[in-house]
């Protein structure tokens, strides 16, 4: 039962209380091994479920009373929000993120807040001040990151679905590593109000789910304009379910060569090419293409994202909220020591990198240059989407690696080489399971033109149906944890 997607759970005839209890029980029993959650809130999930059961036909939405897990960089009024950082270890926000408010308005109940790389900076969820999350499929491996807690919670059926955030792949890459579905919406599709800012021109909130239909449902619940986010788009939200099953006949799908080259594991390449053949069998016209600027995307990202992060993280000064180092002798000493002790090594590294790139004498060479390259990448995608409806690539160059296996920062950054271009160009992109490599999940990524989520979801659904893979299940040792 816990393995069924939300749209099936909702139609199952079980009470919302029964459904919520199922996930509350699994999270309580299994999370000691996985560590997907930083905070569990069974009372919130059960209360929402009971309210929906009482309301019967008067429910605010068909999904009322169903539980959801939230990445712990989405602020929740009255509920600790840590960003997996010592800086915010005890912070209780005074307001709630718009995306979370919308889920609450639809009657969903929060199951808990999920682990992440500190301030969403990382690709493995190892950079959490509260310890790493493990991949439910293989507990010796990372779940990916930074939304590793959300992906692991869904993969272990400790949550039926979850929200993550994606700045350079942080929804899609962990979804791929854990064998679930992850969608990064177009920049501006979902309000960023209440998402703790990492890189403001790249960040988006999106769903991590068991199947494509659930991703369409959850996106529909959180999407739309919000006057509190000046970068949220004033565009109507289409019904993402309306044409979901219409298939890919006649759609043009591009396979950009650069995403299948050096550094991509052969088994990953084979699995994604298998997905391309499946789309072809369904009537899509699949063709190889080129996106030469892609090779510069990672370099541009590692200037733009740290630059924006260094500005955004300037607010953590030990004065108004969060951690403060003890024993400061001056205000400058207070800032310096609070930030030294409050931030972990990866966050400090990125603040330093961003500050360097923005500093006098280097601004034009790094930041301006990276923004110009970003323009070239956008233009190239613009041209590609005149010839193709969709682009298909691997989500990540390899399957999940072992905890502790990648220690060099630059090697870690390479994990995001396939996902970063969509953030730089603001495109919607989805990862869904397409096969295996060494017994581990492999994700295929589809990208579409900005605000073409309906088309993207429709193609992803067609691919999911055509592949009709067995869902990934947690390692046997996890399921053996006694009740």
């Amino acid at each position: 039962m816990a393995w069924r997607p939300v749209h099936e759970l909702a139609a199952s005839g079980a009470s919302r209380r029964e459904i919520a209890e199922l996930f509350v029980e699994r999270a309580a029993r299994l999370d000691g091994r996985v560590h997907a959650f930083l905070t569990q809130t069974p009372e919130r999930a059960l209360e929402a479920a009971e309210r929906a059961d009482r309301a019967g036909g008067g429910r605010p939405s068909p999904w009322a009373g169903l539980p959801v897990a939230l990445k712990d960089n989405l602020v929740t009024r009255g509920l600790r929000t840590t960003c997996a950082s010592r800086m915010l270890a005890d912070w209780v926000p005074p307001y709630t993120a718009t995306a979370v408010e919308r889920l609450e308005a639809a009657g969903l109940g929060c199951l808990g807040k999920t682990n992440l790389d500190e301030f969403a900076m990382g690709s493995s969820t190892e950079h959490s001040a509260f310890g790493p999350t493990r991949n439910p499929v293989d507990l010796e491996r990372v779940p990916g990151g930074s939304s590793g807690g959300s992906a692991a919670a869904v993969a272990a059926a400790m949550a039926p679905w979850a929200l993550g955030s994606d700045t350079g792949g942080s929804i899609r890459q962990p979804a791929a590593y854990c064998g679930v579905v992850g969608l990064k919406p177009s920049y501006g599709r979902v309000s960023r109000y209440g998402l703790v800012a990492f890189a403001s021109s790249l960040d988006q909130i999106g769903p991590i789910t068991r199947d494509v239909r659930d991703a369409a449902i959850l996106l529909g619940l959180i999407a739309g304009h919000d006057p509190r986010d000046a970068t949220s788009a004033e565009r109507p939200v289409p019904d993402y379910l309306e044409r979901l099953e219409e298939g890919v006949r006649g759609l043009r799908v591009g396979l950009p060569r650069e995403y299948f080259g050096e550094g991509v594991a052969p088994e990953v390449r084979e699995a994604v090419l298998g997905a391309a053949r499946a789309l072809e069998r369904e009537g899509a016209r699949v063709e190889e293409t080129e996106l030469p600027s892609t090779r510069y995307a990672l370099a541009a990202y590692y200037v733009v994202a740290p630059a924006e992060a260094s500005a955004n993280l300037a607010r953590y000064d030990g004065v108004r909220y969060g951690f403060r180092a003890a024993g400061a002798t001056s205000y400058a000493d207070l800032y310096d020591r609070t930030r030294q002790k409050g931030f972990g090594a990866e966050v400090r590294r990125r603040i330093m990198l961003g500050t360097y790139a923005l500093s006098a004498g280097y601004y034009d060479q790094y930041y301006l240059k990276a923004q110009q390259v970003r323009t070239l990448i956008r233009r190239e995608f613009g041209e590609a989407f005149r010839r193709f409806d969709l682009l298909l690539t691997p989500t990540a160059p390899t399957a999940a690696f072992r905890l502790g296996e990648v220690s060099d920062p630059l090697t870690m950054y390479m994990n995001d080489i396939c996902t970063i271009p969509a953030n730089l160009a603001g495109l919607p992109a989805i990862s869904l399971p397409c096969g295996s490599a060494g017994g581990l999940p492999v994700g295929a990524q589809l990208m579409a033109a900005p605000f073409e989520e309906a088309l993207l979801l429709r193609a992803a659904r067609a691919l999911e149906a055509a592949l009709s893979l067995q869902p990934w299940r947690p390692a046997a040792e996890l399921e053996e944890v006694a009740p």
């Binding site: 912070w91 209780v92 005074p94 920049y187 501006g188 021109s201 006057p227 000046a230 970068t231 788009a233 600027s293 510069y296 370099a299 541009a300 590692y302 200037v303 260094s310 300037a314 000064d317 004065v319 108004r320 909220y321 969060g322 951690f323 403060r324 002798t329 001056s330 205000y331 400058a332 000493d333 207070l334 800032y335 310096d336 020591r337 930030r339 030294q340 400090r348 590294r349 603040i351 330093m352 990198l353 500050t355 500093s359 790094y366 240059k369 990276a370 110009q372 390259v373 970003r374 323009t375 070239l376 956008r378 060099d408 920062p409 630059l410 950054y413 730089l424 160009a425 603001g426 900005p450």
Partner: protein, 107 residues
């Protein structure tokens, strides 16, 4: 692209980040390696290409300037690491212990 320990100290000061000496050395190496990778951007011809700060076409979201409720003071102050009554408490900013503030300026 090498970066010297002195440069690391300078950037750390701009970033308001205390570093211990071991970290200065380590960051000099790590940042150097990342900057070396990033240096490939210099190979891209970008003359006359406008920068992208932001992918949306919309500029300036305006709204009516109408007063509305803000966050309650007490709720905000509850999260303060140190406070005194309705104030945040911080180390002395001006005068002794303060650094570079007001130096040579008439206040």
């Amino acid at each position: 692209m090498a970066i010297s320990p002195d440069e690391v100290r300078h950037v750390a000061r701009l970033a308001r980040l205390a570093l211990d000496e071991g970290e200065v050395e380590r960051l000099a190496g790590e940042l150097g390696a990342i900057l070396e990778y990033v240096a490939q951007l210099q190979r891209v011809e970008t003359a006359g290409v406008p920068p992208t700060a932001h992918v949306l076409d919309q500029v300036n979201a305006l709204r009516e300037d109408e007063p509305g409720p803000g966050l309650e003071r007490e709720v905000l102050l509850e999260e303060a690491p140190d406070r005194e009554g309705p104030f945040w408490r911080v180390p002395r900013v001006i005068g002794e212990g303060g650094e570079n503030v007001g130096e040579g300026e008439e206040r």
